[in-house]
Structure formats: structure tokens, C-alpha cells
Symmetry: C2
Subunit: 237 residues, 2 copies
Amino acid sequence: MSSHPHNTPCELCSSRKFSLFSDLPEAQICNISDHKNLISHRKGQILYYEGTKPLGIFCINSGVVKIYKTASNGKEQIIHLAQRGDFLGYAALLGEENYSNSAMILEDAKICFVPKEVFINSLLHNPQFFRRVAKSLSHEIGVMEGKLTDATQKSIRERLAYVLLQLGNSYGVEGGGNQKIDLILSREEIAGIVGTATESVIRLLSEFKKDNLIELEGKKIIIKDRRGLARLSDFYA
Amino acid sequence: MSSHPHNTPCELCSSRKFSLFSDLPEAQICNISDHKNLISHRKGQILYYEGTKPLGIFCINSGVVKIYKTASNGKEQIIHLAQRGDFLGYAALLGEENYSNSAMILEDAKICFVPKEVFINSLLHNPQFFRRVAKSLSHEIGVMEGKLTDATQKSIRERLAYVLLQLGNSYGVEGGGNQKIDLILSREEIAGIVGTATESVIRLLSEFKKDNLIELEGKKIIIKDRRGLARLSDFYA
DNA sequence: AAAAAAAGGTGATATATATCATATAAATAA
DNA sequence: TTATTTATATGATATATATCACCTTTTTTT
């Protein structure tokens, strides 16, 4: 019987079913569990910086992490928001490159760290797992292609509307026929997701509010008219 | 001894050393060679369309292929230009998704097709090869993150200057202290790479020419001042 | 609680670039 | 060759959005 010095063992981890570890055989889960390290992080903390060398992967147990790049003008482009079950840093690890982005905690998080060798060994000893990871990498490429195309071909208004819909999908809480985005983001961060200036986000949000598409409740945004936003976003699905 | 019905066997393929197949063991190379299919393609032909199902991977022996997405406004966003040694379609295959982009021949090409099962089997039977492929996928993600950040944070002028430098790196032929981009691209295609309107590319190229950064020789662009373009592109390296 | 800092908000303004129109040049077809 | 289509070029114009300035509100620090 293996010992599990670092809090909850992976075998019992509630976020595992959302992760790439979900259908790993028991033996390998235990092995990873033995070598992992669970750390609590507070909002604002940096998990890793762009340009530094990855020493393992992170697996999010709870909380939200923003993955971003700092452009030459100093602004942040947020690549995506990661949450429960998401892996971080495995692309850099597998790419044998330094981190291509930085990661900062957006909502207090518990995150496991799995050292490089342990992770790589699981891949090499379990082709099905490796394939699952490759599938995830591949999927990510398609997502990025879409983001690039949107960035060059859509207006800021369209992109903001679309970002709100996505945030609703990921962090939405239904209530009163509306959907509240249950995640605190500054206007600057929303601008970083959309890829625009903070003032533009503020102005457009006011406009959306005036047009009864959204409502502002403190820092949180409530989506009142999903179809309206979808129409605005030029996203028909 | 295995038979090689489809032209040059991979063992003797001159473009292999540039590809992910470069350090595959002899036995596996031969196996792939037995199942591959070499096809010649003319400029303008479509290799595959976005949204269709991948049945294998393509390996470019010669020629140039543009990989692009068609935006909702009908414009093409060119994701990248692929050339000798590049693999196409393996992300969709590994992602178990339909193609996220389309591929069109830009310069007459010879391209091998390797059926899905043959490719997947080589991966599963050779973890080192799998790792190499995963490395390539991972690298691609980092590249896309950079492109996204550039698209949202840099001006068209900066991006065009940078694209010209890149085209020079990939397709440049030195001569008379200058560098000729030896690839025929329409202004519309350059616009598709940069992510802008055709007229903007035409105007900016005229400007660059006036500023003695480039020269136009028929359809081809000659780079006269790399440092000048680098300065303009906000890319210091 | 007071002070300081950070975030949110709004107006004024500048400007890069998209769009539309039209002309010329080049490539392709008849 | 001539005709037709396509690509390149340039001007005029509109406009979305970045930038700057300033104010208010909220949050954090002391």
C-alpha cells in the first residue's frame, strides 16, 4: 500500500473525472499520487512565468487560473481561463521549450504539481493516456486557429459579445431566466481576453446594458439576452 | 523485402530528413512506405476542406501549401504556409475531430498520404516517435499563442513588416545584399496571412517601397532593409 | 477613519484601417 | 489577336476603436 503524504490522494480526487487523468488505471494513478504535491494558491499569485523552464505539470483541483502572454506594449493577452480538471504547462513540457505564457491565479486555487519525469513516464508507459493528451493538444490547436481568425476578422463588439457567451457557458449560474457569470474579472482582464483596450470594454458593456443584453451587478455580469448576444457576435449555432 | 509501388520509397525520400519521420527506425519507415501514396498536386488544388473528416496524414515532399480558415465574412485567414517535410492533418487526426482548416496548393507539390491506421500504429508502437509528434503539436500551440497576441496587440503595419521578414526567412534567396522572397503570393493572400484587407497590404507595400525597405519585382518582393523592417515590426531579436 | 491606490466610467480627439469606387495593368480565355 | 476576367493600384470616405484626460467610485492600506 502506498502512502499519500500530500493531502487527498488522486484516487479520491473529486476533480480527476474532469481531467486527462480520468481514465488512467489505478496503478498509475497511485504512482502519480505518490509524487504529486498539492499547493494552495491565493488570488493574484503567479504559478509560472513565460520564458521559464517547466519542471512538471499542474493539475487544477479547484479555482481559476488565467493563462496569458504579455505583449511588447505591456498589455496582457489572455489565452484562456483554466479551471477544475485542466492541465497546465504540459505543452511546454512536451514541446521541450520554456513556458510560452504565464499563469496567474484568478480565484483561490488548489493545484497539484506532478514532476516532469513522473508525468512523462506515465505517458510512455501508457499509450492510451499519451493519445488522450495528444488529443487535448490537438484540440487546443484548433481552438487557437479559431481565436486567431476571430481576432483578425471580427470587430471588438462581436468578440466581446462572444466572450460573454463563452464566460456564461463556463461560469454561468442560471437564475430568473438569466445567467450570471460567476467569476470576478476586472474590465482590464476582459479587455485582455477580447484583445482590446480597457476603455473599449467599459464602453461596449455600457452599450450592451443599454440594449438590455446584459445587466451589471457589482463586478459580475448577468446575461439577459443570449440570443441577442449571439446575433451580435456573428456566431450562429 | 517489401515492395514499394508508390514511387520513391520513404527510405530514399530526400525530404524525410526535414520531417517528423526523420529518425524513425528502418523497419517502420518501410512499413509506412508500403502504405503511403504519393500524389502530385497543381497550384490551386484543394488538399482538404475544413469540416471534413481526416483519413490520414499528408507529408509534403515538395511544393508549398497554404493552411487557412474561412471566416464568417468570407475572408481567408492563413494559419501558416507548409513546405517540404511538413506534416498536415495530424492534429485533426489525433484530435479525433474534423479538419479545423483547409489546405490549398500554392506551388505545385508532391505530397504523400499515409492512412490513419498506419500512422497511428507507428505512434503507438514507437513512443519516441509519438513524443516527437507531441513535441511538434506543443510547439505549434506556442506559435499560435504568439500569433494571437500579435493579432490583437500589433498594428497592421507592424504585422506586415514581420510577415515579410518571416517569408524572407522561409523562402528568401540572397542576392546583391538583398533577399528575394521566392514565392508567388497575391496581395490578397498576403492580406490573409497578416489578417487585414487586400487594399491595406497594397498601400503598405507601396509605403515600404517608398521608404526603401523593399522592392517589387513582378509578383515577388525583395527585402532591401531587414533591420528597417525589424524596427518597424516591433520585433527586436 | 483617513489616506492612498486602484478600478470604473465618460468625454474629446486622433488615427489607422476598412470600405467603396474607379482606373490601370496583367493574366487568361476565346 | 482580341476579349474577358482577375489582380493591382490609388483616391475618397466612413468609422471603429485607441489614446488621452479627467472624474468618480470602490478597494486597499495605513
